[in-house]
Point group: C2
Chain length 112, copies 2
């Protein structure tokens, strides 16, 4: 069948969706490190984010000043880079929510 088309389509849907999801997870103000975010998002949403997707994404969000990052040394193990949302990030995620909500409303009109 058209498994290949669906697979490519899902990858395209993720463009845009992932930044929205990440910002929503950070929205509460709690800081997460990258590896943790991947697992958290997988647990909550069943969406798998490749590491090669997440780290560049976090850098983009940081460049846009929507999040901050901070290295935190661990008592044992590899240091972790913790990400937290900025006021501008919170503002932005609110606007994204509005758009998403409208989009969904529109789509629900044509899918039923």
């Amino acid at each position: 069948m058209n498994e290949d088309f669906i697979h490519k389509w899902i990858s395209q849907v993720k463009k845009g969706t992932l930044s929205f999801i990440v910002l929503n997870v950070l929205k509460s103000g709690k800081a997460y490190y990258g590896y943790d975010l991947i697992n958290e998002i997988k647990k909550i949403t069943e969406i798998e984010i490749a590491e090669g997707t997440l780290y560049p994404l976090m850098n983009r969000l940081k460049d846009e000043k929507l999040i901050l990052s901070e290295w935190v040394e661990q008592e044992s193990g590899i240091p972790r880079k913790y990400y937290s949302i900025t006021p501008e990030g919170k503002n932005t995620v609110t606007k994204m929510e509005e758009y998403w909500h409208n989009l969904n409303h529109s789509i629900s009109k044509i899918t039923k």
Copy 2:
């Protein structure tokens, strides 16, 4: 503010969304021509699809055998290329709907 980021984000969200929307409009079996599709989608969903986006998109969907196209001469005016969905297209749009529904359920869990 971050209007520019939001603008870019919306463009990314459309990747994947547009093919889903187009297939949904065609789902009923009625044939549409390109220019008409753009207006129909704008009317129903308020989403504006650039012509430079739609025509390549329709060609991709045709290559994937999800739609068919047929030139129809008009009594007056420019000939129109009418697009209609194939059985494979219907099948595919059903799968897309499933994924979209699940994605939305997941996102609603983290946005609230």
